[in-house]
Amino acid sequence: MITLNVNGKPRNLDIPEDMPLLWTLRDVLGMTGTKFGCGMGLCGACTIQIDGQPTRSCITPVSAAAGKQITTIEAIGATPAGKRIQRAWLALDVPQCGYCQSGQIMSATALLVSKPKPSDSDIDDAMAGNICRCGTYPRIRSAIKRAAGVTTTGVLDVVNAKEV
């Protein structure tokens, strides 16, 4: 028996200690917002936060989260940074297929908390672990800056493209 704190609620679970958090959330707790992408920590689709740190849940055993605060996409909107990120995502129509976006938002929110005014290179460092096959990277970058209140400048910003 292991006790996990998920989005502020204690959950007592009869699962193996080495079971990854990803499958615990999805298959045992039925919280499907956290996505399976690669199973090896290579794509970031499964990103959650443990005590605020972005964490790949597919390679993190539940034992590593015991006694810590687990936050998932289902609850990130209740945090000020999460709410700002979600609003910016909607304002710039970031998602396409949407499958990777839970992980993107969990990484971006953690970035915004640790670096309230992130630079491009901060964004590279924080987001390079999150793959998006729909190629929403340019909009993710713009949305993070928007959420941070950093002015997006430069003729090449997608949101500034004009009709010819």
């Binding site: 298959d27 499907t32 794509c43 297929c97 949407g98 929403t136 997608v158 009709e163």
Partner: protein
């Protein structure tokens, strides 16, 4: 002249009168329902083989509360159709876009008297092209009927009434009736045979950027993909197919698998094994413990080198003629100089973010299937064939797709899941690991392109010859499209190339790779063809010592739309302005899916050969724009997808099996590697073109042409990998 064109196959406009027929029915619980037909590639195929009477496959329903629901067979896989299609209806119906709710068909057969017909398919950048007129007609027809119902109620001339925002207004008196109050009366009216559609100048919605309607659930974790299906009593199964193509399962250690806590069952199939458990983790552990042994089968020795050797040998012989203008062979023979090149493109996996999965509940009464698919109708037919169940008994519950890119135009994953479910009591979710997803994809085929041109004494190209050799997806998927031995998809970009060479010869040799399954991949034939065509044109420009832009423009006299996008892209990019050493710009043109795209890529090549695309300028003329922001998003998406493939993507085969396993060795672009992308749209009143795929097609040659400009190294074989290394 003989040309093969995919555009002639009825995607843009169906001549079948029936597709435009509208039927009105009073819906259960009141309201107005209009049924109508949307042409799709699948139905075009059916129309070739059946003479089934017309049955609507899309429905527009307005209920007594005035809620508008559009029930339709096309799916959302990220491309924005769930926003752009409601825009087409709302424009003519005179309602706000967000008042149009989408329900995915297949519909409830009890609610709708007519069953769905034929295959439904979302792909080929056809969603807007196939629906632009029918959806507007449906909206306009409903509006006219509602206005007529209101006029009859008020006993006034309909021409004195107008519709706006879901309300009919009698202008002289200011009387108003909401659509919901009119639907029952409207449903009793005859359906008008002709309705006037708006002129583009009167559009209020079409052509304006509109926020996507499907995003809220995609930012809070509530959007449901196939893999998110959760059912009472559902078990989880992890599957492994034979690692070699065509291999057979010999043995599994069932006892060891079942010793893993939570594992309930081992399912043996001829060519695969699945372990069933209470959660995916236990199933995964169980599969590892099962240590399946395989008979490697007939393809045990196949390698990429063998496949390429077979393609090269096949390309020595003349193929089926796709285009023959003048006499290219003679013109090349008498030219001052002959230029030859061979271009090669690798097998590619789709690697959609959502790994393959399918949930099945098979009982004596029927088969329920939860999956995200681009082809619900064909999937249903395949399951009927496998199980012997009737159409009504096979119920496909379609979901959002965690990426399609062509992978979900195949039903192999669903058939596999049903095979497993045939041995499992209760509902079971079958999941492929990422490794399984990459090693058992249906791959974009390896293509081998042989090009030749004759050049006169002034360096001017006088003739073009192009032989395309590879796997034919059309021959397996849409056999009736093969005409005179030519695969129209495979030759599209070359046979329909716009450049004004006087003598052109394009032919096609079908050569299937032994055992390797091939399928559609974003951009289909246009993507495979644009890379060799736009690269070889660039080679000819370099040979003539001419600017690649000027060279192309000079050959495009008869194609003003192509010329315009090239010139605008060049102008935006600062084309011609000097760049530091190690940097370069490349340009490419793509005509496909009814759209014209030009892109300029700027690269910086490091001393160690690392290629960094820093900027992409993309100019799009896709005719009438429905949702401009979606067009931009699709271009950004296509560019990133194409750069991933061009820089890194390849599936290689050794000893009959795929060598790549996961995102570590099947690299895709990440945010830190993504260039700045600028997309400009050209205003146009031409018919709307497709936008999901050409962005991918165009960027590959634009990238390699930029590498040539930066380094002098011509990339004739993808991926680029480390080929730009100069000291080697």
């Amino acid at each position: 002249m003989k040309t093969a064109s995919i555009e002639t196959h009825g995607i843009v406009s169906s001549s079948r009168r029936n597709f435009l027929k509208l039927t009105a029915t009073a819906a259960i619980g009141g309201g107005l329902t209009l049924g109508f037909g949307l042409p799709t590639r699948g139905e075009v195929r059916d129309s070739l083989t059946t003479d089934a009477p017309f049955a609507p496959n899309a429905f527009l329903r307005i209920d007594r509360a005035g809620n508008v629901t559009f029930v339709m067979p096309l799916i959302e896989m990220g491309q924005g159709t769930y926003t752009s299609l409601p825009m087409l209806i709302a424009e003519e119906l005179e309602v706000d876009v967000d008042k149009v709710a989408i329900e995915h068909s297949p519909p409830d057969d009890k609610l709708y008297a007519n069953p769905l017909i034929g295959a439904q398919l979302t792909g080929g950048s056809t969603a807007i092209r196939g629906t632009y007129v029918p959806l507007r007609r449906a909206g306009a027809t409903a509006r006219v009927m509602l206005v007529t119902a209101a006029a009859q109620r008020w006993n006034v001339d309909p021409s004195t009434c107008r519709a706006q925002k879901g309300v009919v207004v009698h202008a002289p008196t200011g009387r108003k009736l909401g659509y919901g109050e009119l639907v029952d009366a409207a449903a009793k009216l005859p359906v008008p045979e002709k309705v006037a559609l708006k002129e583009p100048g009167d559009f209020k919605l079409i052509g304006t950027p509109h926020r996507r309607l499907d995003t809220t659930g995609k930012v809070n974790g509530s959007a449901k993909f196939g893999i998110d299906t959760r059912l009472p009593g559902m078990k989880f199964a992890v599957v492994a197919a034979s690692p070699t193509f065509g291999g057979r399962l010999v043995s599994v250690d069932e006892a060891k698998a079942k010793a893993v806590p939570g594992v309930s069952q081992v399912v043996r199939l001829d060519d695969a094994v699945a372990v069933v458990a209470i959660h995916t983790w236990a199933a995964k552990q169980g599969l590892a413990a099962a240590a399946p042994q395989w008979d490697a089968g007939p393809n045990a020795k196949v390698s990429t080198a063998d496949i390429v050797a077979q393609l090269a040998a096949a390309s020595e012989k003349p193929g089926a003629v796709a285009r023959h203008d003048g006499d290219a062979a003679a013109a090349i023979a008498r030219a001052a100089q002959k230029i030859d090149a061979v271009y090669e493109q690798p097998f590619l996996a789709h690697a959609a973010m959502e790994p393959m999965n399918c949930t099945v509940h098979l009982t004596k009464e029927g088969c329920d299937i939860w999956v995200g698919t681009q082809i619900p109708g064909m999937t249903q037919a395949a399951v009927m064939k496998l199980t012997g169940l009737t159409r009504e008994q096979v119920r496909i519950h379609n979901h959002l797709l965690g990426g399609g890119f062509g992978r979900r135009l195949e039903y192999d994953g669903t058939v596999r899941a049903v095979q497993i479910a045939q041995q499992v009591q209760g509902p079971v979710q079958v999941i492929w690991t990422r490794e399984e997803d990459i090693q058992h994809d249906m791959y974009r085929p390896y293509y081998y392109d042989r090009l030749s041109a004759g050049v006169d004494a002034q360096g001017k190209a006088v003739a073009w010859s192009h032989r395309i050799t590879g796997s034919s997806i059309v021959a397996r998927y849409f056999p009736p499209w093969i005409k005179d031995g030519v695969d129209p998809d495979a030759v599209d970009a070359s046979a329909n190339q716009p450049y004004g060479f006087s003598d052109i010869h394009v032919d096609w040799v079908a050569q299937e790779p032994p055992g390797i399954p091939t399928s559609w991949w974003r951009g289909v034939g246009v993507t495979r063809g644009t890379f060799p065509v736009e690269s070889f044109v660039d080679e000819l420009a370099a040979h003539a010592k001419q600017d690649p832009l000027a060279y192309r423009v000079a050959l495009l006299d008869k194609n003003p739309r192509a010329k315009a996008v090239l010139q605008i892209a060049a102008e935006r990019s600062g084309w011609g302005k000097p760049l530091p050493a190690g940097q370069g710009r490349g340009i490419a043109l793509c005509i496909g899916f009814g759209s014209f795209i030009a892109q300029v890529v700027q690269v910086s090549v490091d001393k160690d050969g690392t290629v960094n695309p820093t900027h992409v300028w993309c100019v799009v003329d896709c005719g009438i724009q429905v949702n401009p922001d979606t067009i931009r998003a699709q271009m950004e998406s296509g560019i990133v997808f194409g750069l991933s493939a061009a820089l890194h993507g390849q599936i290689t085969i050794k000893d009959g099996r795929v060598e790549q396993t996961n995102f570590g060795d099947y690299r895709v672009l990440r945010t830190n590697e993504t260039p700045r992308i600028r997309v400009d749209l050209v205003k146009s009143l031409e018919a709307p073109g497709g936008i999901g795929e050409p962005g991918t097609s165009c960027v590959m040659p634009a990238l390699t042409n930029a590498i040539f400009a930066a380094t002098g190294k011509r990339i004739r074989k993808l991926p680029v990998g480390d080929q730009a290394r100069t000291e080697a």
